[in-house]
């Protein structure tokens, strides 16, 4: 079941970009740090959007949180890409960017990974989809869409620069032994 199409995503990203600038009274001190893989793509889109209406290049960093996860040893954890933040984050406002917010455990790991790079003045969180079911006291500052889900369901964000095709967000029913995924009945 498609819950957001390319147009919805574009409008949500534009709104988040405006909210980030509004909340931080401009974005001069802001660094966007995307979590691999789709969070990084979204962070790049946000910085492009801000550049258009604010005439400001907000730096974008990439964060791999694998070595900070709390489920190492419970499942295979493989890093995705290099952590690269092009500016010193100390004293700046870091906006963490991810595609889907779920248990909050990835964000917890991201905050640990981030604080080893410096001491940000503040850390804010932007997500395209908040699907609920938090297991930690974490809440997003900027949300594209609140999407109530069941725990077994799967939220798939597709971005054209990562996945090809058109942007979309889909909600899929629980998969059973890796078989073909059924769609949630409308």
């Amino acid at each position: 079941m498609s819950v957001l199409d390319a147009g919805d995503l574009r409008r949500a990203q534009t709104r988040i970009a405006h909210e980030i600038v509004e909340r931080n009274r401009g974005a001069a001190d802001v660094v966007l740090v995307g979590l691999y893989t789709r969070g990084l793509a979204i962070a790049r889109r946000l910085t492009a959007a801000i550049a258009e209406f604010e005439d400001l290049d907000v730096p974008v960093g990439a964060l791999d949180v694998s070595f900070y996860r709390d489920d190492i040893g419970l499942r295979a954890v493989t890093p995705t890409g290099p952590t690269e933040v092009p500016v010193d984050i100390t004293g700046r406002v870091v906006v963490l960017v991810d595609d889907v917010l779920y248990t909050g455990r990835t964000v917890r790991a991201a905050m640990d990974a981030l604080t080893e790079l410096g001491r940000p003045r503040a850390i804010q969180l932007a997500v395209l989809v908040d699907r609920g079911h938090r297991e930690l006291p974490i809440r997003p500052d900027f949300v594209g869409k609140n999407l109530p889900t069941r725990i077994g369901e799967d939220v798939r964000v597709r971005l054209h620069e990562v996945d090809g095709g058109l942007d979309s967000v889909e909600l899929r029913a629980e998969t059973i032994d890796g078989g073909e995924e059924g769609m949630v009945p409308a």
Binding site: S66, F67, Y68, G73, T83, D112, E116
Partner: protein, 305 residues
């Protein structure tokens, strides 16, 4: 993967995965705070029955950078001096609760025995003449950061007979597609080279201008019970990477040595410290590779399933 006892435990895919993972730890090691909490709470025991500085320090540094606790077992200050057997030692440290044992032992096969006795992951840090897999991994990582390994011509020069580094490197380089030539006098080669995917030369001057990489081995005087070459000076004249010989290398040839170096024997000091030398990079990459091995063995989830 539960243990790393030999390069034989790896195939091209798992070897490449380990090298890819190592790259992430190279990046971690370049940070201001070169440490991650990945293996917090895991205990690594290092058990060195042979002298070592760089390998032991490298493993211990790797473990600490992954937030492991490290139990260092120094044979000279232990109950081994009172006649404690390897089995008893392993049972003792296992009773204290450990997740991995890093072992170096003069007897080939000792790490394999230890792996049979313990539930912990065992990492071979060098056993006799047999294997030194993490050295081969760090050499492969170091080379891969400079050159495409497939088709690369590598000369491994010196005391191959006593060298676990050579044995492990031949296997790893062969898996990755490099062409290996062993260069040594017949007395410093193993009695049989059957099954070794290598070419052999007894004349360093024959191959020196054709190879992309020269990997020098340490002359292992401590393992040589008999005279295997007339004099050190004659060995150096024929098989040492002297300044004169280094002149004949390809202009972009690379030089490696697993350390510790006998300067002036297998390699001239000026060559070892020259721009073609990767020796210090090898040491730095050693920490990253050992972090990757520890993370793979202790952080994969396989031990819990």
């Amino acid at each position: 993967m539960k243990h790393l006892l030999s390069i034989d435990d790896l195939d091209v895919e798992s070897l490449t995965d380990l090298l890819d993972l190592s790259e992430h730890f190279v990046a971690v090691n370049q940070r201001d705070i070169p440490k991650v909490p990945a293996l917090r709470g895991k205990v690594v025991a290092s058990l060195f029955y042979e002298d070592s500085t760089r390998t032991r320090l490298s493993f211990e540094t790797a473990a600490k950078r992954l937030s492991c606790d490290v139990m260092t077992f120094s044979v000279s200050q232990s109950s081994v001096k009172k006649g404690e057997s390897l089995l008893d030692t392993v049972q003792t440290i296992e009773a204290m609760g450990i997740d991995a044992i890093v072992i170096r032992h003069p007897a080939a096969g000792a790490p394999h025995r230890v792996a049979e006795w313990t539930d912990a992951s065992v990492i071979n840090a060098g056993d006799g003449r047999h294997a030194h897999p993490t050295q081969a991994l760090l050499d492969a990582l170091t080379l891969r950061r400079h050159r495409e390994l497939n088709g690369l011509r590598v000369a491994i020069v010196g005391d191959v007979r006593h060298s676990r580094v050579a044995r492990s490197n031949v296997k790893a380089l062969d898996l990755l597609g490099a062409d290996v030539t062993l260069v040594a006098p017949p007395t410093l080669l193993p009695e049989s080279l059957e099954g070794w995917p290598v070419q052999v030369s007894h004349d360093f001057d024959d191959v020196i201008s054709e190879v992309d990489v020269v990997m020098l081995l340490r002359m292992q005087f401590e393992r040589q019970g008999e005279a295997l070459f007339p004099t050190v000076r004659e060995y150096t004249a024929r098989y040492g990477l002297t300044e004169a010989r280094a002149e004949r290398l390809k202009p972009d040839a690379l030089i490696m040595h697993p350390g510790p170096m006998n300067r002036g024997v297998e390699v001239a000091a000026s060559v070892a410290d020259g721009p073609a030398s990767l020796v210090t990079e090898q040491v730095a990459n050693g920490v990253a590779v050992r972090m990757a091995v520890l993370f793979s063995l202790l952080g994969s989830g396989a031990t819990i399933a």
